[in-house]
Amino acid sequence: MRRDCDHLIPYIANELKECERMAFVEHLKNCTECKKEYQELSQAWHALPFDYTEIEVPESLKGEVLGFVFDHKGKSGTETFMAKMSKLAIMLKSQFTPVSISIVAVLLLAIIGLGIANVQEKNHHAENIPIEILTAIPLKAANQSHPGTNGMAYIVQQESEKNLVVQVHELPGVEGSQVYQVWLLKNGTRENGGIFKPDENGSGILTYQLAEGQTFDQIGITVEPDADSIQPRGEKIAGS
């Protein structure tokens, strides 16, 4: 019996190392003597497990075995997922040099940064509180020498804050310290509603924050000698 043939018994008993086993499988193909012996002996070997007495299987075993296996399912699923991820990481590592990794990393960071900025800008727009126009009051000329003067006043509300917006066109020009002043009439008393200077085309715009609960019946616009008027001193140019 050759040395190779000596492996027959450990081969049947499944005791060969993997490389020895492979070598013996090759040997089996060519050695007629071993082949014949193997067929006979392995037949006896495979008969060995049937040397038992049949025993009644407990009813509860099925649930315990299959329950155990299927409970394991999720766990092994994540394990293989993790294994796949680490395989992927290794594969990627072998594809990139340190330089290309840093380039990719910088690009990725830039993309993420831009993405975040974009989203934030969108959110910012979304957070803008809508402005609601509560009242629109047409303004017309109050002075015969400038009958073309016209404009609109709006009361706008943004959250709880109310603003008066006054827009007037074709106003006569002002000189020196002269300004236009808006007056809010309520029960015969006039309150300051802000001052403005028109541009060279005679158009002027003013926004004035109204105090909480402040209301008025009428608007008047006068031309004042300076910005310090507490009560109207000059001519009324336009009004509601």
Partner: protein
Amino acid sequence: MKEKYDTELMRLVNEKHGHALEELYNRYIKLIYSFVMKFCNGNEEKTKEIIQLVFLRLWTTNSHYDPSQGSFVNWLLTITRNICIDYLRKEKRKTQHHQEEHEEIADPANVIEQRVNTNDITKAKNKLPTAQRKLIDLLYWKGYSLSEIAKLEQEPLGTIKSRLHQALKGLRKHLELEDIK
């Protein structure tokens, strides 16, 4: 036809069809249970744990049954036996710290075997000389390796190998005679 069905079942198990695993359980649990009980000397708790591991192996690892390598039952029992051996070796390592290696080697006969058993292989085995029968019990049912047995029996490894050779030859001869009867 039955083999074909087993191959198909195993393919479905590989594709993670739970009902196919259940079908395998229904078909083979009696065989596997009796086999493992004998391996564990009738210890029900160990038997349960081993059977759980067997079905887990069938389910989780991609163990593919190749019909050209032998019958499905042989394949299944080989897997089962390997798991039994691994299990018992681990256990042996654990208990080795507490007690000496030589435990009950002298008489490997076990509880399960003492029950009435009339099948062919048992009859054939009983006709073998005591040394050969003991060798098969230690090797096949107790999971000792050939070299471990050589050490235990204080005999050369070559002697043990040729004894196994003789034992298997003898078994085959007796099995054939049983067939003729």
